[in-house]
Structures are given as C-alpha cells and as structure tokens.
C-alpha cells in the first residue's frame, strides 16, 4: 500500500525555540565554543546549521550568539562599526523576535556584542563577550585553497608560507598589502584570521579583557580568544606591524586615534571623515565634543540617526 503524498500544509506554528536554535544544536555549538576557548586560535569544526539568513551574512556569528544568549543578556549588533547599518538591523531584529532579549546601541550597556568588520573603540570589560562574524576563517586559505593542506600546516605549526607572502608584499609594494583580516598569532601557537576587521583593530584583540568568540557558518568553524591572551600581528623586525593613522580627527566629534569612514559629499572632491563607531561618536557629541564639520549641513544628514529613530 502506498500513502498519498500530502500537499496540505500545516499552518505555521509560529513558535520557535528561544533564540531560534533547538537545544541539541545549541549543545553542539556550546561544546565547540568550549573547545575553542581551550585551544585559543584553533578552528573547531562544528555542524553549522542552515539559518533563516543567507550564508555569508553572519550565520556563524548568529549561531554563536544564539548558543550563548540568555534571557537577561543585553545585545548589541554592529556592522561596519554602526548599529544602524542594514545587516546589523536585520540581525538585531532576529534576536528581538526569536529571543525577546533587550537590545542596545550602547557599547557600555551590552553584555554581548555581535560584530561584523569592527571592534568598538571603547575598551570592553570582563563582563562582555564579543562575537565576530567570519566569512573565511582560514588565514592560510588564500595561499593554499585546500583544507587538507592547511590543516596539516596548522598541525605542524608550519607558517612559513604566510611569512613569505607578507614579505613578497613588501618587496613588491613597499608595504604589507593586507589592510584587513590581518593575520595574528595567538598565544605563540596558532596563526588566526581576526575576521575582516581593518588591521587598525588588531591591537584591541591583544590582551582584551572580554572573551572573543568567532563564528564562521558557511565554513563551519568556531574559534575563540580567551581574555588576557597574547595576540601578535605578524610582522618582521625591519617592517614592524603598524596601524593606519588618520591625519584629521572625526569631523563630527573631533575624536582622534579612532577609525574613520570617508564620506564623499559631492562630486567636486568634497570629503568628510567621521567615526566608524557610531555609538562612540554619538556619546562624544552628547558630551559636548564637536568636530570641525559638526555644523556642516552634511553632518545633519550623517548623524541623522536620532531623527530616523524617532519615527
């Protein structure tokens, strides 16, 4: 006897588990996180699930956040340093909907910060957890596409290829041509990809007080840097690692020593440099710091978050 294949669709039950993932999946991810913490910088394979957002859009970070998140957490989500970029908004909305947790744009108030491409300017504390979205977790991938090979290289601590690549950059360009996802060595052992944050942020991950968790959904890897861990950006004696510096302060809040976005104002070369960390910038302006372009009409447009948010 064969049963007819039903074409009837049960109405959506509309109730997912807290933070979307089922408990078995959370346990699997939690175990991977513990292994990652125990072996700093080592990429732990995990059975990444299909998420209701595309691979490449933060599914790794979302799974890590979902696995650690509790009802009393306060979540902040940033993309490009800003809480209001499209993907940050989408991910924050996902957790508001599926976990009902409190969310914030304030770095200080957040217990978990999920990020893509930036680390907040404010130093994080030991009660905070920073979750990175990672596209390609393997720092050696662009030198050797095969996982079978790169895995061996990590096992043997064979990182010569990476040094050769960086040195070839110097020979060819006079600079190391890696400006983001700049490779680091964790605790003197594993070479690790800090995710595509600009290398400006690399010094922040060294000896950070907060726990750092990295999730790569499509590539199915989780890794971690425990607090107070030595993280060194790869360099050479004659070419020491250095970060990008900006010759002007933030046009809106006058901050120096922060990462700035270049905003094109017109087609006549008009430009403005403003903080990439939107919360940092708003905080400073609220405290009375004003940059040289704070009064410019363009500034109203750029800092118009308050205007939009009010609606």
């Amino acid at each position: 006897m064969t049963l007819p294949v039903s074409k009837s669709i049960a109405p959506d039950e509309g109730s997912y588990n807290f933070a979307y993932l089922d408990e078995q999946t959370k346990r699997m991810i939690r175990r991977a996180i513990l292994k990652g913490i125990a072996i700093p910088g080592y990429q732990v394979p995990f059975a990444s699930r299909e998420m209701p957002m595309p691979y490449g859009w933060g599914t790794g970070g979302v799974q890590v956040t979902a696995a650690i998140l509790g009802a009393d957490d306060t979540l902040k989500v940033i993309d490009q340093g800003s809480d209001d970029t499209t993907n940050a908004v989408a991910i924050r909305g996902f957790f508001e909907k599926t976990a009902g947790v409190a969310t914030t744009t304030s770095t200080e108030d957040a217990s978990i910060i999920q990020t893509r491409h930036r680390i907040p300017e404010m130093a994080l504390n030991s009660n905070q957890i920073l979750v990175f979205q990672v596209p390609i977790p393997e720092p050696l991938r662009f030198l050797e596409p095969r996982e079978t090979e790169t895995r061996k290289m990590h096992a043997l601590e064979e990182y010569g290829l990476m040094h050769v690549k960086l040195y070839e950059d110097i020979a060819k360009n006079g600079h190391i041509a890696t400006t983001y996802a700049y490779p680091v060595e964790v605790n003197g052992r594993y070479v690790m990809d800090p995710s595509p944050t600009p290398k400006f942020d690399n010094p922040k991950i060294d000896n950070m007080e907060a726990l750092q968790l990295y999730g790569a959904g499509r590539e199915k890897r989780i890794y971690a840097i425990p607090p107070y861990t030595k993280v060194k950006s790869l360099d050479f004696d004659d070419y020491p690692f250095e970060v990008q510096s900006f010759d002007k302060p933030c046009g809106l809040c006058n901050a120096e020593g922060v990462y700035l976005d270049e905003v094109i104002l017109d087609d006549k070369g008009g430009r403005m440099f403003v903080c990439s960390d939107s919360d940092h910038c708003e905080e400073r302006r609220a405290n009375g710091h004003l940059g040289p372009m704070a009064a410019d009409p363009a500034a109203t447009l750029l800092s118009g978050g308050t205007q939009e948010k009010g609606q």
Partner: protein, 378 residues
C-alpha cells in the same frame, strides 16, 4: 535609495513591503495557488525538494511562490525550515528494485526484462512553442493508453550485469559502519562515498551538469553508458525501536540513475564494468545523470585511475556544490564593506604617493600634483 549609513531599519521595512507588492504583481491577474504550482510546475517543485533536501511538495510549492519563482531562493527557504524540524532517526535503505515504475529506460540493451517504459518525458518532443497553451483554457487532453505504473519484474540493469559477473560488486558499507551525515558532522576530507553522494544529492543541478559535461569532453573521461534511469514511487520505512519492526512512513517519488562505465581489473580480479550512481527526489533526471557521472569521476582513486581534472577533485567538487552556500557568499558582497574598503583606499593612496615621489626623484622634470596623484600632463 540604498541606505548604508543611517535609517537602515526604515529602509528594510520599506524594501520588504515593496518586495511583497512585486511578488504579487498585477492584482488584476489571479493569485497563483500552491496547488497550481505543485501540479503544473512539478519539475520546479522537484528541484526545490532536491536542493532544499526535504521531501514535501506542498512546502516546496509554497517556497516557489514566496521566492517569486527563484528556485535557489526557494530551496534556501526549505533548508532553513528543514533545520527546525525534530529528527527522529534515519529511515531504512530505500529499495528501488521495488519501485512502482512510471519511467524506465536503458541505453545499454535493446530490450530487457520488464521492458523499456518511456513515461512522461520531453525526450522525443519537438521543442516548438505550443501557442495553444497560451489560451486561458487549454482544452481537453488526449487520453493516455495505459497510465498504470508498473512494479512487476523490473530488475535493475546493473543487477543483470552483476549476475553475469560483468559489473563490479556494489561496494556497500559494512553493516557496522555508520553512514555519514554531513548535516550533522561538518564535512572533512578525504570524504567517503556515502558523504560524497549525500553532498551531490543536495548539490546544485547546474554545477553538477557542467562538471559531468566536462568529463564527457575529456576532462577525466569515464566512458559512461546509461545503464538505467528509473523514476517512480518507493516506500520509505522506519524501524521503530519501541515496536521492534519497520513502519511504513509513506512513499516518495525518486529518480535513480546508474551509469555503467569502463573497466577496472587487475592481476587478481578480471575486468569489470564500474558504477556511477545518482538518486534524487522527484523527476529530476538531468541531475540524477550528472550526479552519477560526477560520482564515478570522484571514484578515481579507489579504481586506480589518474587524477587529471576538476571533476575528480573531491575537495573542490564537494566544497562548491552547495548553491545555498555559494549564493550566500557571492551575494554577501552586496553588504556594506566600506570599513575594509577605507583601509584599502588609504593604502593605495600611500603607495601611489610613494610611487610618484620615487619617479620624481629619478626624473626631476616630471610634474606631479601629489595632492591628487594626477600627472600634470593629463
């Protein structure tokens, strides 16, 4: 307006409203029903079930409707839904020899026990647009002579060859070997055939088609003959621990393709044909064939062949076959990347300034405006 900086929340809300409107299209045209899609776009439904890795015609049809006909997007909806379903265990092995057959062809024999059964196929149709179909009412269809599916005496062609000793034994895993599941354990390499087949069954039809085609054009030639393609209904059974016997869960439609390929043999064993295997949900024949050719090509090592072509490269093939992964990563380039781009801008400006400075040192008469990096002569 693409709002990367501020007002993201509002922009997303608006985009969703606009998408809903465009999906519905002109409201003077009746809305598609899910049943219409399931019945009349059955091959799209089958592809979405395959690549979405979930057998449910109704849900696949709904996904196609929601995805505005974008089949990869539809498969993605199905995958995301699939992850939330509870798992009760693994079904018993399907027995395709007991298939209720709707179509069965073999290219290796003129006739064979059970006969050839063309079934519903485009194969010998003339690809002429049928303008009659553009009419609102298509009119009555011609009666079909015999529509009863066959399920008697249809031995698989590969079994006939095996009986004569001409076909390699079906390399079944030991009963004690657990069959891998790449949805539960991340894929690692080398990957055994169970994982390879699972990966290919979920893989993108277009990717597998191109790889299979490349193998026909000399990039790892495997000399395939279509031993058999069969399409029909098979029962799915589940061993219920608490009852102690198999329970029938229902029936699904699958296409199975067995390719018969050139030989293996050695001093120890006589020459034999080798197999390539494809099995997919629904009538997705092109993919079942491509899958069986790629499967065969990936077996080069076990059969003592040389690796010469992309289709034989397990890590390359399996790492890039999944269109949900591929589309996500390709499309993620739409997300704002301006922070990293800023870092690149800064470096390229510095490198250009140094380049011009170095040139000016060599040739003091060259004029360069260092501010813009533009040469004065331009």
């Amino acid at each position: 307006m693409y709002v990367a900086v501020k007002g993201g929340e509002k922009a997303i809300r608006n985009a969703h409203k606009l998408l809903a409107k465009r999906r519905r299209g002109d409201t003077s045209v009746p809305s598609l029903t899910v049943d219409q899609i399931a019945e009349q776009l059955a091959l799209s439904v089958a592809r979405v079930m395959c690549e979405g890795s979930l057998y449910d015609e109704g849900l696949a049809a709904l996904a196609i409707k929601q995805a505005r006909g974008d089949l990869i997007e539809a498969a993605f909806l199905i995958r995301a839904y699939r992850t939330t379903l509870p798992r009760f265990g693994y079904s018993e092995t399907l027995d395709t020899a007991k298939m209720l057959i709707e179509r069965r062809i073999s290219a290796t024999y003129k006739d064979l026990p059970g006969g050839q059964l063309l079934g519903p196929t485009f194969d010998y149709s003339h690809r002429l647009l049928d303008f009659a179909m553009a009419a609102e009412n298509e009119g009555a269809l011609d009666a079909v002579e015999s529509e009863t599916p066959l399920n008697e005496g249809m031995p698989r062609v590969t079994d006939l060859l095996s009986d004569e000793g001409l076909m390699e034994a079906d390399p079944l895993p030991e009963a004690s070997d657990a069959v891998g599941d790449l949805t539960r354990e991340p894929l690692s390499f080398p990957a055994d055939r169970d994982l390879r087949l699972q990966n290919l069954a979920r893989g993108d039809e277009g990717f597998l088609l191109s790889l299979a085609y490349s193998s026909q054009r000399g990039y790892a030639r495997t000399h395939p003959f279509t031993g058999e393609i069969r399409y029909g209904e098979v029962e799915v059974e589940f061993f219920a621990e608490e009852l102690g016997f198999n329970v029938k869960l229902g029936a699904i439609k699958v296409t199975e393709c067995q390719m018969v390929n050139q030989f293996s043999g050695s001093a120890k064993s006589p020459p034999k044909f080798t197999r390539g295997y494809g099995l997919v949900f629904g009538q997705v024949e092109r993919k079942a064939m491509a899958m069986s050719m790629v499967d065969r090509a990936l077996r080069w090592e076990e059969l003592g062949e040389e690796q010469t072509a992309p289709v034989q490269d397990t890590e390359f093939v399996l790492s890039h076959s999944d269109n949900i992964q591929a589309t996500g990563f390709v499309e993620h380039l739409k997300l704002p990347h301006y922070v990293d781009f800023q870092a690149e801008l800064d470096l390229v400006r510095r490198m250009r300034a140094e380049w011009f400075a170095a040139r000016d040192q060599q040739d003091p008469y060259a004029q360069t405006d260092l501010e813009t990096g533009k040469e004065a002569a331009e």
